[in-house]
Symmetry: C2
Subunit: 201 residues, 2 copies
């Protein structure tokens, strides 16, 4: 694989699959670091307990291209935790409207529950401002009489609710459709070795 230069611009027009894959992971890393990156936010699609598809936005927190890991945080009381407990099957969707780049990551999610060693390690560096939403009562989805009828639980409740979700990427589908250039590639790491191919968009 091409050595990753974290400051290099992604090369979406390369004809080399290894260069494209390195660009993908580098752009995910930029999403973790940079609040204004298009990849700061990612769609998490799951299958609901009723079999219906669900999708919502989360903040990208950490990635590791070598091991294929992508992390985000959530509240143990959220619907997606229930869904991911039942099945870890997940698709992450990254989309940059400026470059018209769409990246789909199909994977398996592992939940690290509140109070676990991994959750505690992920929570430790988060400042108070980032913890406020875990203190909101009542639980997400509870009907309230007015939009601001919310309470704040004490700070200790954060550790009881903060959940780390680690997605193990199994396959990546890259697509870019712009005038004069339409290209799509798939990468699959389920076979042990990374298989890669160009496919028709």
């Amino acid at each position: 694989m091409t050595p990753a230069n974290p400051d290099a611009e992604p090369d979406w027009d390369t004809d080399r699959l290894d260069v494209l894959l390195a660009s993908i992971w580098r752009s995910f890393e930029a999403g973790c670091r940079n609040r204004t990156s298009a990849f700061r936010n990612v769609v998490v699609a799951t299958t609901g307990t009723d079999g219906r598809p669900n999708a919502r936005i989360v903040v990208l927190r950490a990635v590791d291209g070598e091991t294929g890991l992508i992390e985000f945080h959530t509240d143990a009381r959220s619907a997606k935790v229930g869904e991911l407990t039942r099945s870890g099957a997940v698709e992450l969707l990254f989309w940059d409207p400026v470059s018209s780049v769409q990246i789909r990551v199909s994977g398996l999610a592992t939940l690290h529950e509140p109070g676990s060693e991994e959750a505690a390690r992920a929570l430790a560096p988060i400042p108070d401002a980032g913890r406020v939403k875990y203190r909101t009562d009542p639980a997400p989805g509870t009907v309230i009489a007015a939009p601001d009828m919310l309470d704040q639980a004490d700070a200790g409740s954060v550790v009881e609710r903060f959940t780390l979700v680690r997605v193990h990427a199994q396959a990546i589908d890259f697509l870019r459709l712009v005038d004069g250039s339409q290209r799509r590639a798939v990468f699959d790491r389920r076979a042990g070795l990374m298989a890669a191919a160009w496919i028709s968009p």
Copy 2:
């Protein structure tokens, strides 16, 4: 319902559920009209034939708040057509990173197949530039030796591939999380009457 003024800015901070719902549909209408709108593109989440979640971006084409319809176009050869043939259950996800507005629309999709009256009516106003992608050969997902090893079928193939997808919105979940204002509301039209409520974010 508040009369829809198509040029009014959406009011995301209202305490009135009817005003919020009108803002939602007005912002969808802006997505259809305006190429630079954050809602020009929408995520379509489906359940794959293997039960796994899938998600991809499409272009928003038409909406009707009165009847709860949202339309997009696709290629009959795409994987999502196979999935939606098996089950019409779909979730559409709209996301504006500037206003931090997320809108989830849970619904049922109806496919209007190539050559059908509805598909022909949707295809008619589309200029040649918008038809090019339907002429691409081989079929989407086919492995090719290089990213540009694509052919163009004749113009007549477009009508054989152009598919209209009409999503009937059943429930809408609005969420906005910004400093100083966190609000979430749900709207449900499955009961015949439109039920609406504020819920905890």
